[in-house]
């Protein structure tokens, strides 16, 4: 039985402001609050899932019906993404319990709560201005979290992120303003209905502004300049959260815009091409990276490129593949980041070269990393295999054999650089020197959870597929969405 | 065992074959080595007697010592002789093998080859001409045919005496044992 979905946004938001106060009372309590709160979110998302699969849950706030008032639209897609976000958030918060020791840790937890709240808000809202607001909440907490380690590199990364993010937000705002000016409404379903009558030139301009804005969060090339720096300089859980939460939310925004609100077919081709370019350039850049987290950042960009490509196909199967890939990425990339975080923590250096022989010193963590690497390469029987299979299959079915081949070349490059790291972990003799040999159980729990999900989904993809299909259908079936939202509460 | 060997030594067919097929390993020390090629080539053509050069002691029947032997080379000669397969014959060639020849007072050259390995035929001269060499071979053939070329047997029976002589000049004896 689910509670009011509004709580999914309200509770983390409230908890975020509660944490500093709790932190004044007892530092330890603050640690456990995120676990509980996001756990609640996860519970909500899971409970909502069977309901929203049948019919979208429209939550009307303050009794103003959709075109006029703010509403939450919890369709299969939104619910699915909320589930992903809360799942990743939950697991990362478990990891956080012990990993974040640095002061002021209650602020970290607060910002993290804000991040989750914002991302959840983004995927649940039905209002374009709310989308913008939640985007800002997510972004601002991200900036702060990036700079959490008080180091000049972190600050620089955060500042870059801030500059680019602010510009993108401005574009989003401009786009929203343009839409509001021409259609006079902010409800997405309503906009989708009314956009038909707007001058296509204005509509396309608005769309491009919005796409640019969300593209920054969704790591579209060339808007993803912030990503490598931010990923590599942020604390490990934050990097994981970027991969699992922020980017997913951004991608949701992008998908919602182009599938539901606007009606331009050309944008799909554009997305397809941008997707493959993003994929290839990211993989190529990742190959020669020296820092492990930076490499993972580029890999993350590459995966998002694949998702964009899948969404750009704009077919049922393609979108299913894209969403599947988003899910996989959201699960595997945190696994990689969390294990890499521990490896970096123990080796005391971010450089790949210094990870030599960690497979011997830290067998479990290295195992998780290797597992994640194999999974993200798309090897069976891990989950990455199925999503890649579906995407490539659909690409070829639509006649884009060359794109499929290019994507697979990207995969080969991916295999090379992941294996290079795995190779260093296992093949090289460890450097001399004493190291602590200790991983906190919370981290192991977090990583084991992720591993099990990867394996489960890999061996039994049908479980996930049953939920992904309606989600894809929601994206593709625009009129149903409009109807559902606009007739809600009647 | 000796009876058996004697019986075989008197085997007419075998002795006839041995006589007509002398495979020579020429141990070319000293100036005598230069006399061997003329013996083998067109002018004197030792091959018509079945005499052929061989490259390894394992295959050879006749060890041809063509000159003086320093103590260092004596060691090699003994080794080579022991590697040959019985029945085997030794021809001492030139005065040096008989009494040291012109090296009679050299501190490093042996004087009597037959003190160290059993010699079946000496060919004297300094150096013997190919005619002499062929004559020596024919003498050897005759002795083989009569079953008299039993130097190898002599060596086998008096190994202790030969060893004592050999060890007298070769101070540091590192040779493997000759196992029959």
């Amino acid at each position: 039985m689910y509670l009011d979905p509004v709580l999914m946004i309200a509770v983390p938001l409230f908890a975020a402001f509660l944490i500093p106060i709790l932190g004044k009372i007892n530092k330890n309590i603050a640690k456990y609050v995120p676990v509980l709160v996001i756990g609640f979110n996860l519970y909500e998302a899971v409970m909502l899932l069977p309901v929203s699969m049948i019919k979208p849950v429209i939550v009307i706030i303050a009794a103003w019906r959709p075109p006029l008032g703010i509403n939450l639209t919890i369709g299969p897609l939104g619910n699915m993404l909320a589930l992903i976000i809360s799942l990743v958030g939950f697991i990362v918060s478990i990891y956080n319990i012990k990993f974040v020791e640095e002061e002021p840790n209650e602020k970290f937890h607060m910002l993290f709560m804000l991040l989750v709240a914002g991302a959840t808000g983004m995927v649940l809202t039905g209002d374009i201005f709310n989308l913008f607001v939640f985007l800002e909440i997510t972004s601002i907490s991200s900036y702060a979290l990036t700079a959490f380690i008080r180091h000049r590199d972190s600050a620089e990364a955060a500042f870059k992120y801030l500059v680019i993010g602010s510009i993108s937000s401005t574009f989003v705002l401009l786009g929203v303003a343009l839409i509001y000016a021409t259609t006079g409404t902010l409800n997405m379903a309503d906009i989708a209905q009314k956009i038909q009558s707007v001058d296509p030139k204005i509509a396309v301009t608005a769309m491009i502004l919005l796409v640019t804005g969300f593209g920054v969060e969704a790591e579209m090339f060339p808007l993803n300049g912030w990503a490598p720096d931010a990923y590599s300089q942020a604390p490990t859980p934050v990097s994981a959260a970027f991969g699992g939460i922020v980017v997913k939310a951004g991608m949701y925004g992008l998908a919602r815009l182009i599938f539901t609100i606007f009606n331009f077919h050309g944008i799909f081709y554009f997305l397809l091409i941008m997707g493959i370019i993003t994929l290839l350039i990211a993989e190529m850049s990742a190959l020669r990276q020296k820092q492990i987290k930076r490499m993972l950042a580029f890999s993350s960009i590459g995966q998002m490129g694949l998702v964009m490509m899948a969404l750009g196909l704009a077919t049922q199967e393609g979108v299913v593949g894209g969403l599947f890939q988003m899910f996989n990425h959201a699960i595997i990339k945190p696994l990689l980041f969390l294990s890499a975080g521990y490896l970096v923590f123990y080796s005391g250096s971010k450089n790949i070269e210094d990870l030599d022989g960690m497979g011997r010193l830290k067998p479990l963590t290295s195992f998780f990393f290797a597992f994640g690497a194999f999974a993200i390469m798309g090897l069976p029987p891990f989950s990455g295999f199925w999503s890649k299979l579906i995407i490539i299959s659909e690409t070829i079915r639509n006649g884009f054999v060359v794109l499929a081949a290019l994507a697979l070349i990207g995969s080969v490059i991916e295999a090379v650089y992941y294996l290079r790291v795995v190779g260093r972990l296992y093949f090289k003799k460890p450097h001399e020197g004493e190291r602590t040999h200790y991983v906190h159980p919370t981290a192991i729990v977090a990583m084991t959870l992720l591993t099990l999900i990867v394996l489960f989904v890999g061996l039994y993809p049908d479980f996930l597929m049953t939920y992904l299909k309606p989600a894809a259908a929601e994206l593709l079936n625009k009129s149903a969405y409009i109807k559902d939202v606009l007739t809600a509460g009647l | 065992m000796n009876d058996d060997l004697d019986r075989q030594n008197n085997n007419i067919i075998a002795n006839w074959a041995r006589k007509h097929s002398l495979w020579v390993l020429a141990y070319g020390t000293g100036c005598g080595a230069i006399e061997v090629p003329p013996t083998m080539t067109s002018r004197y053509d030792a091959e018509r007697f079945g005499i052929t050069g061989m490259a390894t002691p394992r295959q050879a029947d006749v060890l041809l010592i063509t000159g003086y032997l320093a103590i260092k080379t004596l060691k090699r000669v003994i080794r080579t002789y022991e590697q040959m397969q019985a029945p085997k014959y030794v021809i001492g060639f030139g005065s040096c093998t008989i009494n040291g020849g012109m090296y009679w007072d050299s501190y490093n050259t042996i004087k009597r080859l037959d003190d160290y390995i059993p010699v079946d035929i000496f060919i004297n001269g300094c150096m013997p001409r190919p005619e002499g060499v062929i004559d020596g071979f024919i003498k050897l053939q005759e002795r083989i045919a009569r079953g008299q070329a039993k130097g190898w047997q002599h060596y086998q029976e008096n190994l202790d005496w030969y060893r004592a002589n050999q060890k007298k000049v070769i101070k540091n004896w590192t040779m493997p044992d000759y196992n029959w």
């Binding site: - | 067919i13 079945g50 050069g53 490259a55 394992r58």
Partner: protein, 300 residues
């Protein structure tokens, strides 16, 4: 299997070895005459072998060293069993119905490889060097040899030696005239196979003290010499079958094989020695080129 056949089976290795050894003896004699010498008697090789068999001692370096010559002669006799020797009214086919040319090509190698293994266990580096040279040279001459055989097989559409003999019913149909390219390639390979002068680097006595057999003496050497004679005979018979239309009786056989035997002999007498890689590349140049011409012709 008729009793006559069984008698031939038992007798043929001895006859073959005797003929082969005689040929080699004659070759020594002829070489001597060419060099203005008198030379040994033609039966010299047989004397040598009797002497070697009556050697009183022999040394062995181990099991493979012992088995090397045994297996070598096993291979040679087995090869002999699959070669049709006489085809006339009183044929000696032995087992040649049960095998074909490809079998012959491979079973011929059996003995060589066994010999090489035996030489290998002698522990003498010279033997190993000889084997290395021999195998390299074999790789060289097998190419024209194979080309020659392929020409024959494709031309007559059969891989059976008996069928090839049958196709050469008259003198004009002998393959030496019908497939001259094949014959030239094959005879070039034959030079290498016989180990005669230009291609005798394997046994270079002054250089690697007679190569593979350098540790063999006494009865082993005797067996190897027998093998040498027999193998020469087998090869000559095979070539006679393939190119000279086989033989109906022993006299023809001896005439034809001796005629074939003279070719490498005379080439050998007047030529110095090739180095290993020169030998190998020699086989890949002219004989192969001629063979390829033959191949092209047979396809047309």
């Amino acid at each position: 299997m008729s009793p006559m056949n069984i008698i031939w089976m038992i007798a043929m290795p001895f006859i073959g070895a005797a003929i082969g050894l005689l040929y080699i003896g004659i070759s020594r004699n002829i070489t001597a005459r060419v060099q203005n010498r008198f030379g040994p008697p033609p039966y010299q090789n047989i004397i040598d072998i009797i002497k070697l068999y009556s050697k009183k001692t022999a040394i062995t370096h181990g099991v493979m060293f012992h088995l090397g010559p045994v297996l070598a002669i096993t291979g040679t006799i087995s090869t002999l069993m699959f070669v049709p020797i006489l085809t006339g009214n009183y044929p000696i086919y032995l087992f040649s119905f049960q095998g074909d040319l490809i079998l012959l090509m491979y079973i011929m190698v059996f003995g060589c490889l066994a010999m090489a293994l035996g030489a290998g266990q002698s522990g003498n580096p010279n033997s190993a060097i000889g084997v290395s040279r021999g195998l390299t040279q074999m790789f060289g001459y097998e190419v024209p040899f194979v080309i020659a055989l392929i020409i024959l097989m494709v031309r007559f559409d059969t891989s059976s030696v008996l069928d090839i003999i049958k196709a050469q019913d008259t003198v004009a149909h002998w393959n030496i005239f019908r497939s001259p390219f094949s014959f030239i390639a094959a005879i070039a390979a034959f030079l290498g196979m016989m180990g005669n002068k230009p291609f005798d680097i394997v046994f270079a006595p002054a250089e690697i003290s007679s190569g593979p057999p350098s540790e063999y003496g006494g009865k082993y050497l005797a067996l190897m010499q027998t093998n040498r004679g027999l193998f020469a005979f087998v090869k000559l018979v095979l070539y006679t079958d393939l190119f000279l239309g086989g033989a109906g009786d022993f006299i023809t056989l001896i005439l034809k094989t001796f005629a074939l035997f003279l070719i490498p002999l005379f080439i050998g007498i007047v030529n110095p020695r090739f180095r290993t890689e020169q030998a190998m590349t020699f086989f890949w140049k002219w004989p192969t080129a001629i063979g390829v011409v033959g191949l092209v012709l047979v396809l047309l």
